[in-house]
C-alpha cells in the first residue's frame, strides 16, 4: 500500500464510507496494532479493548438468544457482554411451538436456543440443531446431572443439548384473595369458573393448556386420543368465557392483582412468591408436567463461537448460581445446588416432595407436531 492509497483509505474512514474495522483491515493497521499489543504490553494500554484487536479470542459482538420470559440473571448477561464483548439480544416466547415455527421460517438470527425436552428429537429430525462439541463447553459435567434429565437432550447417543433448568407446571394462586385452595387440576378448572371467575390465566401453550385439561379427567398429560382430546376441548371452551387471559406471561397480571389464579411454571411461582408471599404454588395431585429446558445451538447460528462461550459461561457453577437465585428454577446441577442457600434447597416450590413429583410426566415429542393438538389449541383461542 502506497502513501496515496493509505491517505485515500483514511479519508473514506473519516468521511464514514468505510468502517473503522474496514480501515484497520485494509491498511493492515489492525494487525500491526494487535502484534504490537501482544509483543509490547503497555504500549497501547487503555486505548482499545484487547478482544476487539483480536489479541483475545474474538467471538464477535453479539449473540442471539431464544428463550422464555423471566429466565436469566441480568447480572450474568451484563458480565458476559463485558468480559467477551458479545452483547446478548434476547427473544422470549410463550411456547415451544412458536420458537420452532420462527426457526423453521428461517432468518431468526439466533445462536442459542432454550428448547424444552420434548422438542429436541424433532429439532434433530428436522436437521435444525447439531450435536454439541462438548470439548468447547468445559464447564459442562454430565455426571453432575440426573440421568433422567441428561437422557432428554441425547438422541442416538449424541448430546444435542445440555440441561439449563428443570421444573414443574402447576398452579399459582393468591391465597389472600382466593378462598379455595386448589390441589388438583379438577379443582383448578372448577375454581376458574367459580371463585376465580374472570381472574384466571391459562398458558398460551398447547402442551400445558391441553395437558392440564386432560389431567383433570385423569387422562395422560400427553394424550393424542381423539375422544380424550374432545373432552379436554369441551372443558376448555366452557371455561374460556371465565378466563382473565390466555397468556404464558402470567407475572404482570398476577402482580397487579388482576389475576388471582394461573397456570404456572416453577420459576414464575418462585418469583411471585418471593415478592408477594401470599402467592403460593401447588401441583395437581392427578399429575401434570415435569420438564427440563436445554441449551442447544441451531445449525443456522452465525456466531457459533459466541454460542459455545455463552453456554460455557452460564454453566460455570458460580454463574449458574446467580441464574438460579434470580429466576428460582432448579438447575439440576449438583455443583450449583452445593452453592445455594439451604432455604432455597428446602423450598417446596423449587423442590417438591418426591411423592408429588412421581405422578408427573415429561412432555412427549408427538404433542409438538400433532395436528390434533395444534388445531384444538387454535379453536380454544379463537372460540
Amino acid at each position: 500500500m502506497d502513501q496515496k492509497t493509505f491517505i485515500k483509505t483514511m479519508r473514506s474512514w473519516q468521511n464514514g464510507s468505510i468502517t473503522r474495522r474496514d480501515f484497520l483491515g485494509r491498511t493492515g493497521l489492525g494487525i500491526a496494532a494487535a502484534v504490537m499489543a501482544t509483543n509490547m504490553p503497555g504500549l497501547l494500554s487503555g486505548s482499545t479493548s484487547t478482544s476487539a484487536l483480536g489479541a483475545d479470542k474474538n467471538i464477535g459482538d453479539r449473540l442471539g438468544l431464544a428463550t422464555w420470559p423471566n429466565y436469566h440473571s441480568q447480572e450474568n448477561l451484563d458480565n458476559f457482554a463485558k468480559t467477551t464483548g458479545a452483547r446478548v439480544s434476547m427473544s422470549v416466547f410463550g411456547s415451544n411451538e412458536e420458537m420452532l415455527a420462527k426457526l423453521q421460517a428461517g432468518g431468526s438470527g439466533w445462536d442459542v436456543l432454550v428448547p424444552t425436552n420434548y422438542t429436541i428429537s424433532t429439532y434433530v429430525k428436522l436437521g435444525m440443531i447439531e450435536p454439541l462439541d462438548l470439548s468447547r463447553i468445559p464447564n459442562f459435567d454430565p455426571s453432575a446431572f440426573q440421568e433422567k434429565f441428561m437422557a432428554q437432550g441425547t438422541v442416538d447417543g449424541k448430546v444435542y443439548a445440555v440441561p439449563k433448568n428443570w421444573g414443574t407446571t402447576g398452579m399459582a394462586y393468591d391465597s389472600a384473595k382466593l378462598k379455595a385452595k386448589p390441589t388438583s387440576w379438577k379443582e383448578f378448572w372448577a375454581v376458574a369458573k367459580d371463585q376465580a371467575d374472570g381472574r384466571t390465566m391459562v398458558h398460551d401453550y398447547q402442551l400445558t393448556a391441553i395437558g392440564n385439561a386432560l389431567k383433570s379427567f385423569g387422562y395422560s398429560f400427553n394424550s393424542l386420543d381423539a375422544k380424550e382430546l374432545a373432552d379436554a376441548e369441551k372443558l376448555l371452551i366452557e371455561v374460556k368465557p371465565h378466563l382473565f387471559a390466555i397468556n404464558s406471561d402470567i407475572q404482570p397480571s398476577m402482580r397487579s392483582g388482576d389475576a388471582i389464579l394461573a397456570m404456572s411454571w416453577t420459576g414464575d411461582a418462585s418469583q411471585l412468591h418471593r415478592d408477594t408471599p401470599s402467592i403460593v404454588y401447588a401441583l395437581g395431585k392427578e399429575g401434570g408436567e415435569l420438564w427440563s429446558d436445554f441449551f442447544a445451538i441451531p445449525k443456522s447460528a452465525e456466531h457459533k463461537e459466541a454460542a459455545y462461550a455463552f453456554i460455557n459461561y452460564l454453566l460455570d457453577p458460580q454463574h449458574n448460581k446467580l441464574e438460579v437465585l434470580a429466576h428460582g428454577y432448579p438447575s439440576g446441577d449438583k455443583r450449583v445446588d452445593a452453592l445455594l442457600p439451604p432455604a432455597m434447597l428446602n423450598d417446596p416450590i423449587m423442590y417438591p416432595a418426591v411423592e408429588q413429583l412421581s405422578p408427573l410426566e415429561f412432555g412427549a415429542a408427538a404433542t409438538l407436531t400433532s395436528p390434533l393438538r395444534a388445531e384444538l389449541m387454535a379453536r380454544f383461542k379463537s372460540a
Partner: protein, 308 residues
Amino acid sequence: MDAVISPNARHADASDVNIERTQKKRRSLGRRITLLMLLPSTLWFLLLLVMPLMIILVFSFGERSAVGGYAGGLTLANYLNLGSRAAAFSNTLVLAPLGTLVCLLAAYPLAYFLAVKTGKNRSLLLTLVIVPFWTSFLIRTYAWIFILSGKGIPALLASVGLDDVRLINTPYAVLIGIVYGYLPLMVFPIYVSLEKLDKRLLEASADLGASAFESLRRITLPLAAPGIITGVMLVFILLMGEFLIPAVLGGGKVFFVGNALVDLFLQSRNWPFGSALAMTLVTIMLLIIGVYLKLVARYGGKPGEGAL
C-alpha cells in the same frame, strides 16, 4: 432511427410528414421513458404483491405437512374448515367497522378544529398529533395495559363508587386501543380536505339563512368527503388485518382474523389453512371496499376522489 427518417427529410414537400414523424418519434420516446420509470414499481408490484398472493393461493389448496408447514396437494378441505374460525371473522367484522366509525366521529371535530379554528398554533398542534408516532406502536399499546388493568381506570372508577369494572381483555379495551392507535390516520386526510375549505362559503350559507347543521350537511361535509373517504379506507383496511391490539389488549380472548393467522403460522404451523384464511380475508375486504366505493360514487362525491 435517424437513418429511417433521413430519406424523407431531404424532400421539402415532405416536411409535413417529417413533422408528424418527429412528433411520433418524440411520443414513442416519451412512452418509453414512462415505461422505464414505471418498471421499478411494476417489478415491486409483481414481486412483492402478486407473487406472494399467488403463493398463498397455491398453499391454500395444499395440506399441512407432518411436522407443520406446507405439503403439496389439491384439496378444498382448508376452505371447508373456515367455519372453525367463525368467531374470529365475526369479531373482526364487528370491531373493524365499529373502530373505523368511532375513529371518524372522534377525528372529524378534531380535524375541523385544526383546519378552521386554529391560527398560528396550527403547526404546533399538528405536530402534537404526530408526536405519538415517535414511539413504537407496540410500546404505546402495551402502555394501555396498565391504564386499563385493575390498578388503572377501574381503580379510579371504584373510588367514585363504580365497583368491579372490567376493561382489560374485553372488546372495549380493544376498541379503545384501536381508536387511540388509528386516530391520526383518520385526522390527517380529513384535515387536508377541510384546510382548503373556503370560509366565505359558510358565511354565504349563514347569510342565506342556513342553520349551522344545514351548513355542515350541505357545505362542509360534501367538501370534506374526499378526506373522509380516504381516512375511512385507510383505517378500515388496516383494521381488517389488525392483530397487535387484540393480542395485547384482548389477552387472547378477543380474537381477530389477524390473530388466527398469526396463530396458524406461528403456533400450529398449519400454513395451508392459514393461507385459505388469508385468501378469504382478502376477498371479503375487496368485496366490502368495492361496495363502499360504489355507494360513495352513487351518493355524492366525485368518483376517484376518495381513492388512495
